[in-house]
Subunit: 344 residues, 2 copies
Amino acid sequence: MSTAKLSINLDALATNWRNLDALSSAETAAVVKANGYGLDAGRVGVALAKAGARNFFVAAAEEGVALRRAIGPDLGISVFSGHMEGDARLLQEFNLTPMLNSVDQMLRHFESLPGHSFGVQLDSGMNRLGMEPAEWAALRDIALGQNPVLIMSHLACADEPGHAMNALQLKVFREMTDGIDLPRSLSATGGILLGPDYHFDLCRPGIGLYGGRPFSDALPVITLALPVIQVRDVLPGESVGYGNTWIARRPSRIATVAAGYADGLIRAMGAGINAYVGDAACPVVGRVSMDLITIDITDLDADPDSLSLINPRQTIDQVADAAGTIGYEILTSLGHRYARGFSG
Amino acid sequence: MSTAKLSINLDALATNWRNLDALSSAETAAVVKANGYGLDAGRVGVALAKAGARNFFVAAAEEGVALRRAIGPDLGISVFSGHMEGDARLLQEFNLTPMLNSVDQMLRHFESLPGHSFGVQLDSGMNRLGMEPAEWAALRDIALGQNPVLIMSHLACADEPGHAMNALQLKVFREMTDGIDLPRSLSATGGILLGPDYHFDLCRPGIGLYGGRPFSDALPVITLALPVIQVRDVLPGESVGYGNTWIARRPSRIATVAAGYADGLIRAMGAGINAYVGDAACPVVGRVSMDLITIDITDLDADPDSLSLINPRQTIDQVADAAGTIGYEILTSLGHRYARGFSG
C-alpha cells in the first residue's frame, strides 16, 4: 500500500468524554461537526453514544444526515447554523434540531416546520452567530411560547482563561437568560475548564474529546504513520526538495514518505517538525510537497519502513505549533487518502 | 442549503490543457493526483480525455482506481510513487504503470508482475524521488532490457525560471538518458514554460490545468460561493470572532458565512483577504473559524445571500498569497462539505 495510515483510538476518545463529563454536573453532549473533527462523525458518534453522550452538535444540516444514520433515531442532533433556506426537508427527515440564530431563521422555522424541535442561539459578544440582546428582547416571548429545547451561546476567548471577555460573556448570557426555565448551554471544552459558573445545564466539548488543547489532560486520539517510498544518500552541499530550501551539511540519509499537504499535512509545518521511529526523532527537511515529505534519517541505525508524524511524542498541538496554527485545524485537515483504522 | 458551493469549469480546464499543449511539440499528458488537485479526478480526467489527453499521472496506486473507472480501459495511468509493497494487485487489476524509483521497486516489480508495463523515474537533483545517477548506471541495462514505456525526472525549481538548478537538472537528465531510444519526460507546468529544451517527448502539466501560477495565461477554473447565515450590526469598540482579534472602528455590518478552515479555507488566510459581491470587495474580519467566516459588508447597499471567496477577481494564487502558501495547497485543501457543481 502506498498510502499513509491514520489510526483513531476510540477508547481514548471515550475516555476523554468521560473525563470531561466528570468535570461538571451538567449534561455532557459532544460536538462532531466537520465530520467529527476529521475523524469520521459516524464512528465517533457511535463510540461517544456508547460512552453515554445523548446529544450531538453539527455545523450544518447536511452533516446531520450521516450522523443520524450512524447513531440511530433516538439521540439528539443539533445544528449550529440553525435553519437556513432549503433546510426544512433535511431537518424533518433526519430529526435535526436547529439552533435558531436570528429572527429570519425563527420565522422560517415556525412557518415551514411548525411544532418541530428547535433551540435558540444567542450572541453574548462574539458577534458571529446568534441573536443580539435587543433582537432577543423583542422575540423572547414569542420564542419561549414555542417550547425551545435549549438556549445556548458560545465563548470567544474560552481558551484563554484569564481573558476578560469570558466574564463579560457570562454576564451577558445571564442577563439574557436568567429566569427562563429551560436548559441552557454556554460552554465547549474551554468553558468546561473555566469552572461551574460556566456549565449551566449542558456542556458541548469538541476539541478536548479529540485530544487537543486547552484540555491538557486529554489522551491523544490519533497516530499517523507515513510509509517510506525510497531512501537515498545525499552528499554535503546537495539540496533536497522544491526550491532547494534544505542543503545537506553532512553526508545524510534521506527518506521520502508518501504523504503531503494534499493529505492535510499543512505546507507551513515543514521546518521544526520531526517524524518518529519509536522514540527517535528525525527532522523533516525541505519543503512539504503535495504528496511527499523528505526526512533526515541519518542518525537511525537502519532504514525504517514507515515514520510516525503524529503520536504521543508529537501531538496535534505540537504539529500545529510548528505550522503556526491550532490543533483543530490539524485535525480537520486530515486527508482522504489515508487508510483509516479504528481501535476500541 | 447550509453549505457553500464550489463551481468547477471543465471548459476552462480543457482550454488550459489545449493552451499548454500548444506550447510544445511533445505529447501533453495531465497530472490528476490528489483527486485531481481536489476537484474530482474522475470528472477532470474525463474532461481532459475529451480535450485530447492520452496519459494521466497519479501519486499512488490507490488513486488510479477511481480514475480508471472514470476514464475507461484505453488511456494510460502512471503512478509517481512507483511500485510499493502490496501494490501489485491494484497495478494489475486497474492496468496502472508504476514509475519505478529504486532498485528495490524494480526488483519487486519484475518479480511480482513480470511483463507488466512500467516506467523509470530518475533523480536529476531534487533528491526526493527517483534513481540516483550511480544506481541508474548500475541498473540501466537491466531496466532497458525490460522495455520501460517512459524515462522521467522532475524539476525542483521550475517555478523560478532564472534558478540555476533548472539548467543543472537538465544537464544531469541528459547525461543519464541521452542515446536511449525511449520516450523521455522532464517537465510539468513550470518546465513547459522554460522552453523546448525541457520538453523532450512528454510533458506532464498539473497546476497550470487548474488555473494556477506559474502559467500566467491560465483561465480560472473554480469559483467558491459562501452562503450567508446571518447579518448583524456591530458598534464601534465591539469585537468579532475568536480571540477578539478584530474590533469595529465604525458602525459596521457583519455577515457570517457558512465555511471555514474545515472546508480548506486555511486559517492563516484571515487577514488581507476579501469576499466579493459582484465587483465589490468586502474584507474578511476576525479569525477564520472551523465552519464560519465573518465579513465586513458595511459598504454594500444591501445584505447579500452569499459572497464569493474564489473567483476571477481573487484567484487561488491571491488567496494563497494571503495565507502564505501556494495555489496548489489552496486547491488540494478544498473541503468535502461543498456542494460541487461542474460546468462544461
